[in-house]
């Protein structure tokens, strides 16, 4: 996929939107709103034309907004086509707010469903669907490759969605060549950082530091100080901490599920084991246990000194702890109720890491083994100074016994052989950064106030017409209950005087100019030319070049260079610049069924009569 808008300066500005609706009024309004949101918008009033555009310019759009009911093609069909062929997020729109219709949209794969009239606020949020889809795809892509790729390519970046998404995309395109993947941390501005290997020892130090500080108070800086590891940066610690917290949270969620499965006597060892068992169930759900691991288990159980196999064990389980889901479903997947939470793991991660304090109710958590808190009555924090390894080994062993009793022969190791996928030397990279960017916002939210009571009462009392309205007229309780951005009816509205918009457009357009490659889409604007007919004439010839433009008075004004150089010329023309700044002006006279999108690939200079700079659009 070519450069997406997410690489441009300030996502979601520059988001490339295709709007399809047979209703021209709505089309124009949404177009205007999109421009206000600094999107690059293309409008289309026919579904067939829209598909054509999408096919011709694959990779030129980020999201599609489509009406449900259209004359030439059902919106759902378009939705399916887009999903199949281009795999873009599609948002449906309609006046129809019936649950069944919305459900149908969801079933056909719509990312979201807007009830008309669409509001600006709703439009501002559509970028999340792009981000989400993108991140889901990169995760899938990663999971299909080897595990090692997973570790490397899924970086943990706790930065805002913008930068993280950018990095993700870069990685995604580099998926095959695994060389130049970098471990990104909180600070994405640093380009290349040495990869941090969270070895067992390192993690142990980390855990003990966290233990010391207390999970609630564990801040990366202090952890870093306590750990006192040269070369470790605060960012490394921070990202690792996030993963850790998430893992704990996941564990505690799982633990509640498994409470009934395990009767734990609150003795130290018992509860340790039980908790550990839960842990292992979540972690090694599919029986990912290397032979070394199990050997170590045995060794440990028998009281033998821990060999250097143990680190492998720990690393394994750590790795698994950080993995999202057991992709290779092991033998006893069904036994593990944690399959569910594991799978849900990525989707639960909140976008803004630094702000989110995961509520790990862990007053008594022993961090050594990361057991869930609620069942550990007697396990006090810090008392599990037992090295992680031991606990893990216990866990593993316990798990093995439970899980593979029926299959157990001489040693449980044999059963696991085929499902082993541990590379001892692999790096425990705090896992997928993609996790961190999932928006938690609900996806298929019907963005309409459900407070409407359409029990159909029309208030006709205000009307003064010659109404012999019989009671057969159905009634409708109007939109009074709508809780949109209601401004007082008497408020003095501003008729076109918001300077701030200009500034925003100026800033964003310059960004666009810098970042975006030229042959991409162009926003459509509808604009009459009340003033200068002259300039419209001169522009007509350019429009004629592309016979697709229908209507008179089309203007294509290119953006990047000209805007900078002749900013003044644009001001009076009321050419507002969005995205790459090619705007198509039309006088909407004839029938609305034309495609409005231009395909100018190179800037064209126009001679606008010079005007004042007052309302410069750049």
């Amino acid at each position: 996929m070519e450069q997406s808008s997410m690489n441009s300066g300030e996502f979601p500005a520059g988001l490339r939107v295709l709007v399809v609706d047979d209703d021209v009024t709505t089309l124009k309004i949404i177009e205007r709103m999109s421009v206000r949101c600094h999107y690059c918008v293309t409008t289309c009033s026919e579904a067939t034309a829209a598909l054509k555009i999408l096919r011709e310019r694959k990779g030129c759009f980020d999201v599609v907004l489509s009406d449900v009911h259209m004359p030439d093609m059902d919106g759902y069909k378009l939705l399916e086509h887009v999903g199949l062929e281009m795999d873009l997020p599609v948002i449906m729109m309609s006046v129809d707010d019936r649950t069944s219709t919305v459900m149908k949209g969801i079933r056909h794969g719509a990312c979201d469903y807007f009830i008309k009239p669409v509001r600006l606020e709703e439009l501002r949020n559509i970028w999340q669907h792009v981000a989400r889809k993108f991140l889901n795809e990169s995760k899938e892509h990663d999971n299909s490759s080897s595990r090692e790729d997973n570790d490397r390519n899924n970086i943990s970046s706790a930065a805002g969605a913008t930068k993280g998404i950018v990095k993700e995309q870069k990685k995604r395109s580099n998926l095959k060549d695994e060389e130049d993947v970098e471990l990104e941390n909180d600070d994405p501005s640093t380009s290349k950082k040495p990869r941090v290997v969270w070895s067992v020892e390192l993690h142990q130090q980390f855990v003990s530091a966290v233990n010391q500080l207390g999970l609630d108070k564990a801040v990366p800086k202090k952890i870093l100080e306590l750990m006192n590891v040269p070369g470790l940066t605060r960012e490394n610690v921070a990202s690792h901490l996030q993963k850790f917290r998430l893992y704990l949270k996941r564990l505690s969620g799982v633990a509640q599920q498994q409470n009934e499965m395990l009767n734990t006597v609150p003795g130290t060892i018992e509860s340790k084991l039980a908790a550990a068992e839960r842990y292992i169930q979540t972690v090694a759900a599919s029986g990912y246990v290397s032979p070394e691991t199990l050997a170590a288990l045995h060794a440990e159980l028998l009281g033998h000194p821990v060999t250097n196999i143990v680190p492998t064990v720990d690393r394994t389980t750590l790795m698994q702890a950080f993995e999202q889901e057991p992709k290779h479903s092991g033998a006893d997947d069904h036994d593990v109720a944690s399959g569910q939470p594991l799978a849900k793991y990525p989707s639960n991660i909140v976008n803004n890491f630094p702000q989110s304090i995961l509520k790990v109710d862990n007053s008594s958590l022993g961090y050594g083994a990361w057991p869930p808190s609620d069942t550990l009555g007697s396990v006090s924090r810090g008392s599990l100074g037992v090295p992680n390894n031991n606990m893990v080994i216990d866990i593993l062993q316990h798990h093995q016994k439970h899980q593979h009793q029926q299959k157990q022969q001489k040693s449980p190791i044999h059963d696991q052989n085929q499902s082993i996928n541990v590379q001892p030397s692999c790096l425990v990279v705090p896992a997928q950064s993609s996790d961190t960017f999932q928006e938690v916002k609900s996806v298929a939210s019907v963005n309409k106030d459900c407070s409407f009571s359409r029990n159909a009462i029309i208030d006709y009392s205000q009307q003064s017409q010659k109404s012999n309205i019989s009671s057969s007229t159905s009634q409708y309780l109007g939109r009074d209950t709508k809780s949109t951005s209601i401004s007082p009816l008497m408020s003095s509205f501003s008729v076109g005087s918001s300077n701030s918009n200009i500034q925003q457009i100026q800033n964003s357009t310059s960004t666009f100019g810098a970042a975006r490659p030229l042959p991409s889409l162009l926003p459509m604007t509808f604009r009459q030319v009340p003033y200068d007919i002259k300039s419209s004439d001169s522009l007509d010839q350019v429009c004629l070049r592309n016979p697709r433009f229908v209507g008179k008075g089309n203007h294509i004004s290119s953006f990047e260079n000209e805007i900078e150089s002749s900013a003044s010329d644009f001001s009076h023309m009321k050419v507002f610049v969005a995205c790459n700044g090619n705007t198509v002006k039309e006088e909407p006279k004839e029938e609305p069924n034309f495609i409005r999108y231009s395909n100018v690939n190179h800037p064209v200079l126009y001679n606008y009569p010079s005007h004042d700079h007052s309302s410069a659009s750049t």
């Binding site: 009239p117 019989s470 007229t473 109007g478 509205f493 300077n499 918009n501």
Partner: protein, 157 residues
Amino acid sequence: MLGFGADLLWADMNRLLAFLFHQGVLDEQFLQLQQLQDHTSPNFVSEVVNIYFHESEKLLNNLRSLLMEREFSDYKKIEIHLNQFIGSSSSIGAKRVTSVCIAFRAASEQDNRAGCLRALEMLEHEYCYLKNKLHELFQIEQQRALAAGVRYPMQHQ
């Protein structure tokens, strides 16, 4: 500083708008439209509304010709038109027109031809009323803009 005339016109405009809101002819969606208007598109509202009028008249004509057919039975088509009408009317904040459309649609869903005809009449009435009022509004606005515009050159003199 607005000219004297412009002030009066501004007040007129506000008054008219307030009246329309009070009557339920317009709703807050219309305000959203106005907020979308700015320096870069100073005529946005009037443009959109003109598009709306243009489209609506076509729709109304279609609806009337459909319902007037001797052998009318195609309620589906009516509903398609109405959907579009509802969409566009609600998008510009034409509350009463939208309400009537929805009633119309309900009658159509019940295959109630008489009800549809009544609703169509009402719809046409509402639509005309809206159109007149909005034209009035735009006229005032134009005059106000002119009055305000005239002011500026004087200041320099």
